[in-house]
Symmetry: C2
């Protein structure tokens, strides 16, 4: 399923977060050639080894980048939500060194490379901003490395929940601390180098400590500050211009 009517405003919003874009810049972004596509949960978007001629902007849903190790274990490198371009690097690195797939049903805008290249040529400043986004991703990778390599399971899970909460809050999608998309515990495990079983036990602890609870299939963060404390979470690595509400408020 695909169409030509893609609303690329999530991208414009993201690039304009640091400093307002000019009207011409916004117009140029919104006019990018794009194709909308729906994908199911579990469906691959790009695979390791592919040489894509387009990048995918996530409009809605949840996607992840990941790699499968020799023994079949999956390592998720990052979660992606509205406004993210998980495979933007394909613009420069021809061959994909990892895969991207949808963790939940998602909506994508496929952006042909030529359109992005033209955009950058015409508006070098936007090229800078795209570069900047990839640098922030790099910062998140590093933080995850610290998480996985040097923190205990409880801290890791708390940390990643904090990150997701902040990122959703930036988009204005966090109401009452509820992460607005279902995130299976296997995926949290694959992201933090843990088994599902252990993620589950850790979630149990976080629930017992009244830091989080389930709201149907969704996770609700009850006490962000305490959770951030447990998870050694400091949002500096997200390089946000202004911190969202949840970072500044007290327990719910």
């Amino acid at each position: 399923m695909s169409s030509k009517l893609a609303d690329l405003s999530p991208l414009a919003r993201k690039l304009g977060a640091e400093a307002p874009l000019t009207e011409a810049q916004v117009a140029a972004i919104l006019a990018l050639p794009a194709t909308v596509r729906q994908v199911d949960a579990g469906q691959d978007i790009v695979r390791e080894g592919d040489m894509p001629s387009q990048a995918c902007l996530l409009l809605d849903g949840l996607a992840a980048r990941f790699k499968i190790a020799a023994d079949g274990a999956r390592q998720i490198h990052s979660f992606h939500i509205s406004g993210d371009i998980p495979d933007l690097q394909s613009l420069q690195l021809a061959r994909m060194d990892h895969s991207v797939s949808a963790l939940r049903p998602s909506t994508l805008a496929l952006l042909p490379h030529y359109g992005l290249k033209d955009l950058i040529r015409a508006h070098p400043e936007l090229g800078y901003l795209l570069w900047r986004e990839t640098l922030i991703e790099g910062s998140i990778f590093r933080e995850w490395m610290s998480n996985i390599g040097r923190r205990q399971a409880l801290e890791r899970v708390a940390h990643v929940l904090c990150e997701l909460a902040v990122r959703f809050d930036v988009l204005g999608l966090l109401y009452g601390g509820v992460l607005p998309v279902r995130i299976p515990q296997v995926d949290i495990g694959d992201a933090q180098g843990l088994s599902v079983v252990h993620v589950n036990r850790v979630m149990k602890q976080l629930k017992a400590q009244r830091l989080v609870r389930m709201k149907g299939p969704l996770i609700q963060i009850l006490d962000f500050k305490a959770l951030a404390d447990v998870g050694d979470f400091d949002p500096a690595y997200l390089h946000l211009h202004t911190l969202p509400e949840i970072c500044t408020q007290r327990a719910a």
Copy 2:
């Protein structure tokens, strides 16, 4: 100790690895304003929280990016050798989200941001190439995440040794499989989320299997292919244009 006579050719070499640079581009790189500085082993180069006005190009030695977790544990995010600019991101992200320090005595060229910015403005193509380098770094971060999160200690250590061997070989600094710089086991551990003790036990195994041995204080790789096999190492993530010798030859 510092001077104005910096030989920036390692940077030109690196940026020209994918496709030859024009003479003008090379000249512009070599003419960048720069200050040379020597640092001792263990000395910090940039600290988390700093807002640098220059980036550091490593000319010689060994440096690492890292972060200290709440309990004091250090996670090394990457190793850096000649030609690398570990804090290039500071050009875009004002506040350092991690630290950089020298693991061994090293020589740096400090490159003021304004010089780099002028360079990019004058030669947008070089800006692209710098962006590309940061993307490759990101790829390495992801691979390390997979390593730390989903591989066992033996595999992790084998993997990181392979990576170092390849990267040194690309620079023409690998003779007979000997990594040309001393790398303390603590640092390998901090890089791969392991204790020194365990790194040591794992090295013992690798030595017993005749995959590596010590050449004085230096590590010598005896059988790259077998080591790569143990470490589930595939150099694709380094995005090299041409693979160095060690990737293609058989056991030493």
